[in-house]
Amino acid sequence: SVSHSQITRLYSRFTSLDKGENGPLSREDFQRIPELAINPLGDRIINAFFPEGEDQVNFRGFMRTLAHFRPIEDNEKSKDQNGPEPLNSRSNKLHFAFRLYDLDKDDKISRDELLQVLRMMVGVNISDEQLGSIADRTIQEADQDGDSAISFAEFVKVLEKVDVEQKMSIRFLH
């Protein structure tokens, strides 16, 4: 779990984001962070903080989402095999990213969902056809059961060589 000083720090960050309302954060509070406006996935990540259908996130929820990005400690790896998987496990980190793609929550990234993300990440200089072609190839690479969509298991498999633990960790949350 996160250390006490980190929790205090994050709480002060939480309250500083909360301009004047002194309570849960709303989407606008997040949108006020200027760097997010120039992050291609910014708005989707903001959404990830908010539980299904809600407009507010309290500190607990805030921490919960951030907890995904704790670095994986070596000693944690061997420890608790029986308990629930910690939020910052490799699988949960990947799941976080997966959920950003999978908008309709059917546990599959369809071609269209992939296209949307691609378009967000690539900008205006690529034509639809090129983009479609890239999307097709990406799915082809990962798809194993032939349903032209990427399931979570396929997602995990195709990224097995990527150092997710490092790419999706903030040491700050140590």
Partner: protein, 808 residues
């Protein structure tokens, strides 16, 4: 031609029509000539792209200087020109340091201040001490032969050769694109170590002067105290002048033309004042630049700001050019040349080795406290990039030959060290870094998925970092911004500047609205935004995906490979391998396209500082694109929620403002049939100082200005809509279509805005840009993908204008 006077006898009796007054103009003329020569040299260098890619400009300039010095010497047998310390310290160095301070990325700088200070202070002391002591130790063994120096002289030499030089470092780092943390640490270190250098140099110089006998503990203590006094004093002087400058800039509204002058004069005064008080002048002017940035930029007009920027860059770049050239010229002075192989060689060895050791130890210590770790490659770059430059040379030239008997030896050694680091290390650092980076990412060719999702992870991480407020100094930063907001701004910023507080607004303002219009208009003009390509990809246009022609594709890809050197290079190797192994040219193209066009994550793409360019273009373009898209989406969701819920409240307030005829005509009213009490129509009309209820202040600012932005976009697209033959201007007619299209759209819309506006609210927004999107399917081709893309961003809107256009 000139006509001399008639005859010597009559010279003072008759009127000379023209005369040759060389002595009269000699000094300024020569100075101007040298500046001209240096600038011409720069032009000459940049004619050859190949050379400049490999050899850093600083090295070229030094060589040029050597060459020129040689000519002068051969012609006159005198070394008439050299880099005098006075000229250097008073005229050449201040512009460079001011430039560094004024353009310093403050947030990054203060975020890493601890590390920077550690390297600057401890690192420099370490370097000085170890180098001086080692040289002395070796001297004692007698290898160096007979020298007239004692321990103190060696320490003096060590202290002046130890400091990493800001001029040289930046000159080289511009070639090597490193990550922002590494950059700021080395950059910051090179600036801040001046205090240490000054203190050490002065202390040891006076110790040498008063003689080793008289150096007591008291003197040493005084030396240590002087360090704190010099550094803190210099900083305070800088801050004081920054305050002064910001204050003055607040009142310069009516003297816009000389506004830029204040920046330079007051900063220069800070430098001279610190120098006068024997404090650290470099620190003074650095902090003057750092602290005044924000307020000055807020206060002065756009044109003045541009003037300041360009003038600063020009002066800094010019000064740097001259410095390097003169370093070369000054070397051609046989009088000073004293050769002592052992000394010179060992100096080189020691400074390199001790730098490496110092960096490793300090990094190890730092990594225990830092949130962002410094990797091996960072340490390599830091050690290897610790260049010595003109500051060391100027300091050594200042030495008094009577007091320091081996001055000439020191000068010669310093010259050699400077040349070595600038030329050799400058030349080799780029290949070294690339080799290391490649080493890290070699072995496998990454799959498409890995690239794509890897990039997504980078973006995610950036966002989470920004949300969580990365680095631990957050508490201080918050305290500072509170203090700033409550007091400083009120004093130092003009009232008009204080208003635009919301940071999103600032970003939006910076992204010039006009650019936004012209950007979309450009897309329209060209027929489709999809056609905006860089020239090198024109080759790709003719490639037919369905039937790959290996030769054609290969030539274009290799053309691209050749063109796109630099950061794309590394993946090209993987790409090349893959190409040979897989022989799937389409796949290669997919990889390459992705690689080329994926937006870069924050960590990578910010080129923070460059002495030779005003940073613009690529990064801004990416930021603009993403920003526009994000803002439109947010605005739509905002509008649908706010309007749906707060319908009546806004109505009354907005109704009043009328932006004027032009706006009204071009605003989103198709024809007079539409009842004017439609709220949205007025929603698009805004004034700057519209007063909304307090609790929604910030949101309204957002809408306010976003509304303006959307206005523009709406206007632009509106105009284009009227031009098209299909001519659906009147949404009324398409209202029926809207319903059906709406149901098709809602899954995606509702996923983007998780607050689902009421149907009523939606139907009452017939004229929002949102709605224009819904018009477009009518024009659309049968491409299924387009409907999805439309949900994402109106950049796609223009694309649909030419449904028949073939994108390939």
């Amino acid at each position: 031609g000139q006509r001399s006077s008639e005859s010597p006898k009559n010279s003072n009796q008759s009127f000379a029509i023209v005369s040759f007054k060389w002595d009269h103009v000699k000094e300024p003329y020569i100075i101007a000539l040298w500046i001209l020569v240096a600038s011409l040299a720069k032009i000459a260098f940049h004619l050859s792209h190949k050379v400049t890619r490999v050899v850093p400009e600083s090295a070229l300039l030094i060589v040029l200087g050597l060459f020129l010095g040689g000519i002068v010497w051969a012609a006159d047998h005198i070394a008439s020109f050299s880099l005098t310390p006075t000229v250097f310290f008073f005229y050449l160095l201040p512009p460079i340091v001011l430039d560094a301070g004024y353009f310093m990325p403050n947030r990054l700088f203060f975020g890493n201040l601890g590390s920077i200070l550690l390297y600057a202070v401890i690192g420099t002391v370490w370097n000085a001490a170890t180098t001086g002591l080692s040289l002395y130790g070796v001297y004692l063994t007698g290898i160096m032969g007979k020298l007239n120096s004692g321990l103190l002289d060696f320490l003096l030499f060590g202290s002046l050769i130890a400091a990493v030089d800001p001029v040289a470092v930046l000159a080289v780092f511009e070639e090597v694109h490193v990550n922002e943390v590494l950059f700021i640490i080395v950059f910051g270190e090179s600036l801040l170590n001046d205090a240490v250098t000054v203190v050490l140099y002065n202390v040891f110089e006076s110790f040498v002067a008063i003689g080793p006998m008289n150096v007591t503990g008291i003197e040493c203590l005084k030396g240590i105290v002087s360090f704190f006094v010099v550094s803190l004093g210099g900083t305070l002087v800088g801050i004081f002048f920054a305050f002064l400058l910001s204050l003055v800039s607040r009142f310069t509204k009516h003297v816009r033309i000389i506004e830029p002058g204040f920046v330079f004069i007051i900063s220069y005064l800070s430098y001279l004042t610190a120098e006068m008080l024997s404090l650290s002048a470099i620190l003074a002017i650095t902090f003057c630049g750092i602290c005044c940035q924000k307020y000055v930029k807020a206060n002065i007009s756009e044109q003045s700001s541009t003037t300041v920027r360009y003038t600063m860059k020009m002066m800094a770049s010019g000064a740097e050019t001259i410095i390097f050239m003169f370093l070369g010229i000054s070397a051609v002075d046989p009088d000073i040349w004293t050769w002592n192989t052992a000394f010179i060689l060992l100096t080189l060895v020691f400074i390199s080795v001790y730098r490496v050791i110092g960096v490793i130890i300090q990094t190890w210590i730092l990594n225990r406290y830092r949130t962002v770790q410094l990797e091996i490659i960072d340490q390599v770059v830091m050690s290897y990039g610790g260049l010595r430059g003109a500051v060391a040379f100027a300091l050594v030239a200042l030495l008094d030959g009577d007091k320091v008997k081996d001055r000439n030896l020191f000068v010669s050694t310093t010259i050699i060290v400077v040349f070595f680091t600038v030329i050799f290390q400058g030349l080799t650092i780029k290949p070294l870094v690339q080799w290391l980076k490649v080493k890290k990412t070699e072995h496998r060719e990454p799959k498409l998925n890995e690239k794509l999702h890897g990039r997504a992870f980078d973006h995610i991480l950036s966002a989470i970092e920004d949300i969580s407020g990365q680095i631990g100094h957050h508490y201080l930063r918050d305290k500072w911004s509170n203090f700033d907001r409550k007091f400083l701004r009120k004093i130092l910023m003009r009232r008009s500047a204080q208003k635009s507080r919301d940071q999103i607004l600032n970003v939006f303002h910076e992204l010039n609205l006009k650019d936004a219009i012209s950007y979309v208009a450009e897309g329209e003009r060209r027929g489709s935004l999809a056609f905006i390509r860089s020239p090198s990809t024109d080759n790709m246009v003719n490639v037919d995906f369905s039937t790959p022609l290996p030769s054609a594709v290969e030539s274009s890809v290799s053309y691209l490979l050749r063109e796109k050197a630099g950061p794309v290079c590394l993946d090209m190797q993987a790409l090349e391998q893959r190409r040979k192994s897989i022989r799937d040219t389409e796949d290669t193209l997919a990889h390459h396209t992705l690689q080329q066009y994926l937006y870069k994550p924050r960590q990578e793409h910010k080129h923070l500082y460059s002495r030779h360019e005003i940073m613009h273009s690529e990064d801004d373009k990416q930021d603009k694109e993403i920003f526009h898209r994000t803002m439109r989406k947010r605005l739509e969701s905002f509008k649908s929620t706010k309007l749906g819920i707060n319908h009546s409240k806004k109505l009354n307030k907005i109704h009043k403002r009328d932006r004027g005829q032009k706006r009204r005509n071009s605003s989103v009213i198709p024809n007079g049939n539409i009842p004017s009490e439609n709220p949205v129509q007025d929603f698009t009309l805004k004034e700057k100082d519209l007063e909304f209820s307090e609790s929604e202040e910030n949101n309204d600012y957002e809408t306010l200005h976003l509304g303006k932005g959307v206005d523009f976009l709406a206007n632009v697209t509106k105009q284009n809509f009227t031009d098209t033959p299909a001519g659906i201007d009147n949404p009324v007619f398409s209202a029926d279509d809207d319903q059906s299209i709406y149901t098709k759209f809602s899954p995606w819309l509702s996923s983007e805005d998780t607050v689902v506006p009421s149907q009523r609210a939606r139907l009452q927004l017939p004229y929002s840009p949102n709605n224009f999107r819904r018009l477009t399917p009518i024009r659309l081709s049968n491409k299924s993908t387009d409907s999805f893309l439309l949900a994402d961003g109106p950049e796609d809107r223009p694309r649909s204008f030419l449904p028949e256009s073939t994108h390939m």
